[in-house]
């Protein structure tokens, strides 16, 4: 994660400006990266060895959704195509993986069940059987589930990638909103198709099938391992020539085509790679839940990912992971929000949230040197928050505030408010397009001039200094 775009090819201009002493900075960055990984390792060890099963599950869920958001980010953030069909890719990967790793005992139960619509052919699709046929009996034990899961998830990802290519094709003729609608329609069509009699011999219709082993999906190590691979591939891809081409398509599709980029190929490629990792995430997600069910793959899933991407910073892999962490945290630890409290408590809570928003807005205005410090974004939520908090605190005896209210749906509302707040205060998301790098952390910027460069630049751009008086600028001519 310490890679900077400019670092990849030794660039000749590295000698001036803030120009890192390459060796020293690389050593420092490598050490910091190693340190960061060590901290992560310790955290994962603690979580894995800890008593809280819930925490373990939340970490695993973060990793699984992280894979999904980072892969969606390749299409939405890097290539700049709004895709709303991610849940469709996840469904394909999820069902394929679930079916392929289903244990034999569960299969037998399903086969006997009168309500099962699964065909014998579908029941025969089992990595376990394939391994047995290949004579790899040692890989068919419960302890070696991981081997079967790896094969299954790979196949699931490839199937999803295949569909990614199919969805990529409309992207050659459509743009913007129109394309977004097509991807959305695709995601929904996949889900509805899976529930029809046509496909129910594979998907068991609306019932789905339970009994998918959760060993991998709820393992912190496996899920973070998959996440690490995803982030590695996505980061390397983003900072390669291919990633630049994809970003060029985002910035200006006509210009990238005029600069020789085969936009058709690259858009389909982005969809395929993104869909592959979505399929992997879907496989893990089915394993996490333990069931392959259609209502796991509603549009809501894509919506959560979009919130994570928008909150974290569109296009920034580290930002997207941050956004995912926020979304997963609110979703998994939002239970207290949905409980029953007295109205006065709600008032105090709402007041405190509003005051926090006002404080954040004030802080941001100070940082951005916006005058005056106290704009409407500060004093409106500030005043409202103060009033709400005071009413809640002082009015505790008031009978009207004694009534209780249960916060149905407060989790989703909190997420929505989080999104709104961030979109108002920082429309590009928390990280914007930037990545978290050590150079960014230490504010080492290659794009700021040294004193010498500043002088040279002033000389170049100031006509008075370069011996010509008056800088008459012609207006931009207009041509048809």
């Amino acid at each position: 994660m310490s890679a900077r775009p400019g670092d990849a090819g030794g660039n000749g201009a590295g000698a001036r400006g803030y120009r890192p002493h390459y060796l020293a900075h690389r050593v420092r960055n490598s050490l910091l990266t190693l340190g960061g990984l060590a901290v992560l390792l310790v955290v994962l060890l603690l979580v894995d060895g800890g008593a809280s099963v819930k925490l373990k599950q939340v970490f695993a869920l973060f990793a699984i959704w992280g894979i999904a958001t980072v892969s969606l980010n390749l299409v939405n953030g890097v290539t700049g195509i709004l895709s709303l069909g991610h849940h469709g890719f996840m469904l394909i990967g999820g069902y394929v993986t679930g079916l392929l790793v289903l244990p034999t005992a569960t299969r037998d139960n399903l086969a006997r069940s009168a309500r099962s619509e699964l065909s014998d052919f579908a029941m025969g699709l089992s990595v376990e059987n394939w391994f047995r046929a290949l004579g790899l009996d040692s890989l068919t034990t419960p302890e070696t589930l991981w081997a079967r899961f790896l094969v299954a998830v790979l196949i699931g990802g490839l199937m999803a990638a295949l569909f990614g290519v199919v969805v990529g094709f409309p992207s050659l003729r459509l743009r913007g909103d129109y394309l977004a609608i097509v991807t959305f329609a695709f995601g929904e069509a996949i889900r509805l198709l899976a529930s029809t009699p046509l496909m129910s011999s594979f998907t068991n219709g609306a019932l789905g099938f339970a009994g998918v082993p959760s060993d991998i999906g709820k393992s912190v190590w496996w899920t973070f391992g998959f996440l690490a691979v995803t982030v590695f591939v996505m980061a390397r891809l983003k900072y390669s020539s291919y990633g630049r081409a994809l970003q060029g398509i985002r910035e200006d599709e006509i210009a990238s085509e005029a600069m020789g980029v085969n936009t058709a190929y690259h858009k389909v490629l982005a969809f395929a790679i993104s869909a592959f990792f979505a399929g992997v995430a879907g496989g893990l997600w089915v394993s996490w839940v333990g069931t392959a069910r259609l209502d796991l793959f509603l549009f809501f899933l894509t919506f959560y990912f979009l919130v994570a991407i928008s909150v974290g910073g569109t296009g920034s892999i580290t930002g997207v992971l941050l956004g995912t962490a926020l979304v997963v945290w609110v979703r998994q630890y939002g239970d207290p929000l949905e409980q029953t409290y007295a109205l006065s408590t709600w008032a105090v809570a709402a007041g405190l949230v509003l005051l926090a928003v006002a404080a954040l807005a004030f802080f941001l205005r100070r940082v951005r040197r916006i005058k005056p410090d106290l704009g409407p974004v500060v004093y409106v939520p500030g005043a409202l928050g103060l009033v709400a908090a005071l009413v809640g605190l002082l009015g505790q005896g008031m009978p009207a505030l004694q009534a209780t209210w249960q916060g149905f749906g407060m989790r989703a509302i909190t997420l929505a408010l989080l999104l709104i707040t961030i979109m108002i205060l920082r429309p590009v998301g928390i990280m914007g397009r930037r990545e978290f790098t050590w150079a960014w952390l230490f504010r080492e910027r290659l794009d700021e001039p040294t004193e010498e460069e500043r002088a040279q630049d002033a000389w170049l751009s100031n006509p008075a200094l370069s011996g010509r008086a008056g800088a008459e600028r012609e207006d931009d001519e207009v041509d048809a």
Binding site: G17, I254, A258, G260, N262, L269, L446, L460, A480
Partner: protein, 289 residues
């Protein structure tokens, strides 16, 4: 090198280009001039594959460009700049000049993810080419500017970046659409010099659309005058601007009720190549009926 043979293009009922033929030899600098709406930019769009000609053919080094996608035409060796800048605004100057080299990359995306030695060698080569092309403009786009996003650049620097970007495609023929638009006279002189160096040192053949007559006069080997999509005149600058048909296209007929003073001033600008722009729409538009 480039040959247009009887190219026609119409948009609905509007005949934008009528039976246009001209040739470009290697190493030439040729300007296309004409009043506003004459079809100059349409010619560029036809050559670069944004539009397909209705009839006629466009040949580049013997092969036809007709019907090819814009990116395939870049592969053949023709690149352009845009009149209304189309840079990759949120990317850095360096990245802007690296993207046009992507089509020459001979590595799959998998080897670019794993940073194979073959990929890294090409990446290093790309950086060298990018710096080489940017150094055409002196120190202006070097150093810290390399890592600045295009968004913060001045208009003139953006134009320079766009020219460097077109050169970085590896094309042999560059189509420059108003390279000096929005530049002051000093910068215009500088860009004139750079275009000449692009030909002399870079070996590019250049076709340009320009409104500033002093630039056209300074660097053009030949000038092609378009009016209403037809070729009005072709030849050396001095011959072309004295062509009665050209003067009429720009300024209207003598019998028109134009003030003699205004006409004389404009004609002076056209012939002497002072910094006065030839009025296209303002004067010409009304007088031609």
């Amino acid at each position: 090198m480039l040959r247009l043979a009887g190219v026609n293009k119409s948009f609905g009922g509007l005949q934008a280009i009528t039976d246009l033929s001209f040739e470009l030899a290697e190493g030439e600098i040729v300007s296309v001039i004409g009043p506003n709406g004459a079809g100059k930019t349409t010619v560029f769009n036809l050559i670069t594959g944004v539009y397909t000609p209705d009839s006629g053919d466009i040949l580049f080094e013997g092969g036809s460009l007709k019907g090819l996608r814009p990116n395939a035409i870049v592969d053949r060796g023709v690149a352009r700049t845009f009149q209304n800048l189309r840079l990759f605004t949120n990317l850095t100057v360096l990245e802007n000049v690296l993207i046009p080299q992507h089509h020459k990359l001979r590595s799959t995306w998998v080897s670019s993810v794993f940073r194979t030695s073959g990929y890294l060698a090409q990446e290093r080569r790309m950086h060298e080419v990018a710096l080489e092309k940017l150094s055409f403009f002196g120190p202006r786009l070097m150093g810290f500017r390399l890592h600045q996003s295009v968004e913060v650049l001045s208009y003139a620097n953006r134009r320079r970046t766009e020219m460097a970007r077109a050169m970085a495609t590896g094309a042999k023929l560059l189509l420059l659409d108003e390279p000096s638009a929005g530049m002051n006279p000093k910068e215009t002189r500088e860009i004139t010099e750079i275009i000449r160096r692009m030909r002399d040192e870079g070996g590019y053949t250049i076709l340009l659309v320009e409104h500033k007559m002093n630039l056209v006069k300074d660097i053009s080997d030949r000038v092609i005058v378009l009016d209403y999509g037809r070729k009005l005149a072709e030849g050396a600058y001095a011959d072309v601007v004295n062509d009665p048909a050209v003067i009429e296209a720009y300024l209207g007929k003598r019998s028109d009720k134009t003030s003699a003073v205004a006409r004389a001033r404009a004609a002076d600008g056209l012939v002497a190549g002072s910094s006065v722009d030839v009025p296209g729409s303002a004067a010409g538009g009304e007088e031609r009926s």
